[in-house]
Amino acid sequence: MTTINGFINAINDELNKNKEYLTELDGLIGDADHGINMARGFNAVVTKITDEDTDIGATLKKVGMTLISTVGGAAGPLYGTAFMKAGGASVGMTRLDSETVEKMISLALTGIKDRGKAMKGEKTMIDAIEPALEAVRVGIENGNSLIECLEMAIVAAEEGVEFTKSIRATKGRASYLGDRSIGHQDPGATSSLIILKAVTAHYKTKVLEV
């Protein structure tokens, strides 16, 4: 059985595995704390959620509130807002379909953009999430399964992360570096990709189990 707790734990595992990697990326263009921030946030999240939390929306709101007060960096209020908005699109639900997932990512992305006053092309997490959302939409239009949609989203997010290397940061700590931020990959876009991959991998193993 897939529980939302299982997904959250899968995200936590992957972020902890990539803690040093994300921190190194942030060290090159920021204040070298992104991996530490994300791991601290999700380590706090997993202590607050159990298999008893079955309402996906309510659980994601709890995840968001916890991230807000434990992550510390810009990723805290941004991912916090994203999870709360995604939760708003899935209140009362215990399973998800492609349309709901599309709505969740869409509201999360709008939340991040409003909160951080940023858009695509500024070398942030938005550069991974927006292409992922567009890929999910294409998948739905083509009648693909949820797994196929998520796999398409991963490919698009990977391209988005790659794209962040080619551009200058105009938001966040990396913007202090100006042109010297070019050539480096954005840590927040990278953590978004890691989260998307963790969710997809977890979903695949669970679906195959049934």
Partner: protein
């Protein structure tokens, strides 16, 4: 009196700014720090900012001074959380340098300035030249 909140990534920075500003005003002026994380680490926390805003309010509103990056993002989120929880404190973020802005704001608040006057005083600190 209008209350003041200092939001910094660092607990020490917020407290240091408060110390400097308190020298200019009487002990009844409310200046509340929201510096760093609950555990003392570097960072910003919207929930701590909400609490600080509520402690700073004595009915005439609160002006928030911020340092960089996520201090702004977390403070804006804090305003939204207050609103969602039905707390109708009048709050404004001042677009000002945090140290000079806090000192100007504190003086203006202490002499009985309105919210608008306190915000203006803080924001005027942006234009004050130091080397002239």
């Amino acid at each position: 009196m209008v209350g003041i909140v200092i939001v910094s990534h660092s607990k020490k920075v917020a407290e240091g700014i408060k110390d400097l500003a308190m020298q200019m005003v009487g002990p009844e002026q409310k200046i509340i720090c929201a510096g760093g994380m609950e555990d003392g680490g570097i960072g910003t926390d919207a929930v701590r900012i909400c609490d600080a805003i509520q402690s700073a309010d004595s009915g005439q509103g609160v002006v928030v001074l911020v340092d960089l990056g996520s201090a702004v993002i977390s403070s804006n989120l804090a305003l939204e959380l207050l609103q969602e929880n039905g707390i109708d404190t009048q709050v404004t973020l001042a677009d000002a340098p945090i140290l000079e802005g806090a000192i100007s704001a504190a003086v203006q608040a202490f002499i009985g300035g309105s919210m608008k006057e306190v915000v203006e005083a803080a924001e005027l600190a942006r234009e004050v030249l130091k080397l002239l």
